[in-house]
């Protein structure tokens, strides 16, 4: 049999409730036989060849197909196999009444509604996953800067009634709040795309700042983060909070550091801001250099040979640990490259007799460079 290149599109046309993955090796969805829907997942590892093909289905369908395995094995194409399966089920249905493991009408309606909406508002390659009987959906959107954005949500079984719950998203809080108010999947995805497109200028500013300065916090900036704590000098850092939708206004600035450095920095900043203003034509880094009257912003350097790779805790040599925030920078020595999990650092400081433990924080020295440092104690320490 000749396999035509259009087979996937033919299958999609004939069986609209079946979705395939990128390389056509997994086909998942529902087969309609008369008024009934059957869940099926097919694995075609060497598609379009049917070598080693297999599928998962409900026990009832399996029992229907069992005696026809040899016939199914003869199918040389997926389309052929699907027709074959439907034919067998049809003939069985004619003599048997429907068992309980078939989908109830409600579920069929839900799957139709969800699929129709997905089809209407976005192309298939943007649907990454559909799980839990069409209730959980993972979508993606690639912006023109080449970033992939993920949106994971679920709907109630009464959809389109009830709320859409967003389970996973990496966008600023106010965007997530507005997304939570929409009622349909179509509207949700449209607003998701719109928000991302309107945030692009903001993310470009952040990317530029991240490259030109030493970002102390967040340790790994995400798309949702609208603030950056960056070093101005050895003893002064500032927290810049942006309004991602109004980039013409300058960021809100908070000063952190030694009393003397903060007082000096603040005076310069306020005076220069009044005199010269925030220049829109140059980037954030350039503005900070002017306003703080410094030659350049400190950039991240590591003069020490690192033991592990970046972002690994210098105490346990691990990055991710369950129920634990990722390692972050605790030592204020700009030359020191150390990162620690909060729990690892606290555990060490508590073992060192010379460390001063006060009610809510503990101070000691950095295990890596010896610089004085302190960190907060949390309730469970």
């Amino acid at each position: 049999m000749v396999i035509t290149v259009q087979e996937p599109s033919v299958i999609c046309g004939e069986f609209p409730s079946i979705l395939h993955n990128e390389d056509y090796t997994i086909w998942e969805g529902h087969l309609s036989v008369e008024v009934n829907q059957f869940k099926i997942k097919m694995f075609i590892p060497s598609y379009p060849l049917m070598t080693d093909a297999s599928f998962e289905c409900t026990p009832y369908i399996k029992s229907c197909l069992q005696s026809h395995v040899d016939n199914l094995k003869k199918c040389k194409t997926l389309l052929n196999l699907l027709y074959c399966i439907i034919h067998i089920i049809k003939s069985k249905l004619a003599i048997a009444t429907l068992p309980k493991d078939l989908w109830n009408g409600n579920m069929v309606k839900l799957s139709h509604t969800v699929l129709m909406e997905l089809e209407k508002s976005l192309s298939k390659e943007n649907v990454l996953e559909i799980k839990e009987s069409f209730k959980t959906v993972k979508l993606k959107y690639n912006d023109i800067d080449g970033n992939e954005h993920i949106l994971l949500f679920n709907v109630t079984s009464e959809y389109p009634k009830g709320n859409i719950n967003i389970l996973e998203i990496d966008l600023p809080l106010e965007v997530v709040e507005s997304l939570a108010k929409v009622n349909t999947i179509g509207q949700l995805y449209d607003l998701f795309k719109q928000s991302i497109d309107s945030l692009l200028p903001f993310w470009r500013i952040c990317k530029n700042l991240d490259e030109k300065s030493w970002v102390v916090e967040p340790s790994k900036p995400q798309k949702r983060d609208v603030y950056r704590r960056i070093l101005i000098s050895e003893y002064l850092s500032v927290v810049l909070t942006f309004n991602p939708f109004d980039l013409s206004s300058y960021p809100d600035v908070k000063f952190l550091g030694s009393m003397k450095a903060v007082a000096e920095g603040k005076t310069k900043y306020i005076r220069n801001l009044e005199l010269f203003g925030w220049k829109e034509e140059v980037d954030v880094a350039e503005n900070l250099i002017h306003l703080f009257e410094i030659e350049k912003l400190p950039v991240k350097v590591s003069t020490y040979e690192t033991i592990g790779s970046e972002n690994e805790c210098y105490i346990c040599f691990m990055n991710t640990i369950e129920n634990e925030e990722p390692p972050s920078k605790w030592c204020n020595n700009p030359q020191c490259s150390s990162w620690y999990h909060h729990s690892c650092l606290v555990q060490w400081l508590q073992m060192v007799v010379s460390c001063a433990e006060l009610s809510d924080h503990i101070s000691g020295t950095c295990p890596y460079c010896g610089e004085k440092l302190w960190c907060q104690l949390r309730k469970n320490d």
Partner: protein, 167 residues
């Protein structure tokens, strides 16, 4: 010459997450096998017991120890890396060095007082290699015979007086 009186800086309050430290040891072993410091050879087969390692060390070229082979033993307590490893030279050839006793004990501050959890087997090996390499005269510590007769088997129980900081 810097004299310091050693005080134990660790108290006993430890809440251990066994798995975390076992994973660190495993990781250290792998990286040491893959990229050992110069002159250091680690046998990938350290046996079942992850808390006891033997490491072979070769005297560096152009130093007093050129051509000599040594064996180091690392013992890790369950409190590692908050507690320093117990490091001693073992086997027939103990380097003759002003900071190494004839029973294999090493007088090196990072092994006791100056230990920090950010140090590792790798950094300890490097310190020992550089301690040997910078030696100008092969001799035992001045108090060797008294120390070897009276000391505890565990070198960490010794209250060290560091002879000097330079070697």
């Amino acid at each position: 010459m810097a004299l310091r009186f050693s005080k134990s800086k660790h108290n006993t309050k430890v809440i251990l997450d066994g798995e975390r430290w076992e994973r660190r040891l495993q990781k250290e072993l792998m990286s040491l096998i893959k990229e050992p410091p110069p002159g250091v050879v680690v046998d990938s087969d350290q046996g079942e017991n992850l808390s006891l390692w033997t490491i072979k060390m070769r005297g560096a070229e152009g130093t007093l120890y050129e051509g000599e082979n040594f064996t180091l033993q690392f013992k890790f307590s369950p409190k590692y890396p908050f507690d320093s490893p117990e490091v001693t030279f073992i086997g027939p050839n103990i380097p003759v060095h002003p900071h190494v006793y004839s029973n294999g004990h090493i007088c090196l501050s990072i092994l006791t007082d100056d230990w920090s959890p950010a140090l590792s087997v790798q950094t300890v090996c490097l310190s020992i290699v550089s301690m040997l390499s910078s030696c100008k005269e092969k001799k035992r510590p001045p108090d060797n015979s008294f120390y070897v007769k009276t000391c505890n088997k565990n070198p960490k129980k010794t209250k060290w007086w560091y002879h000097d900081d330079t070697v």
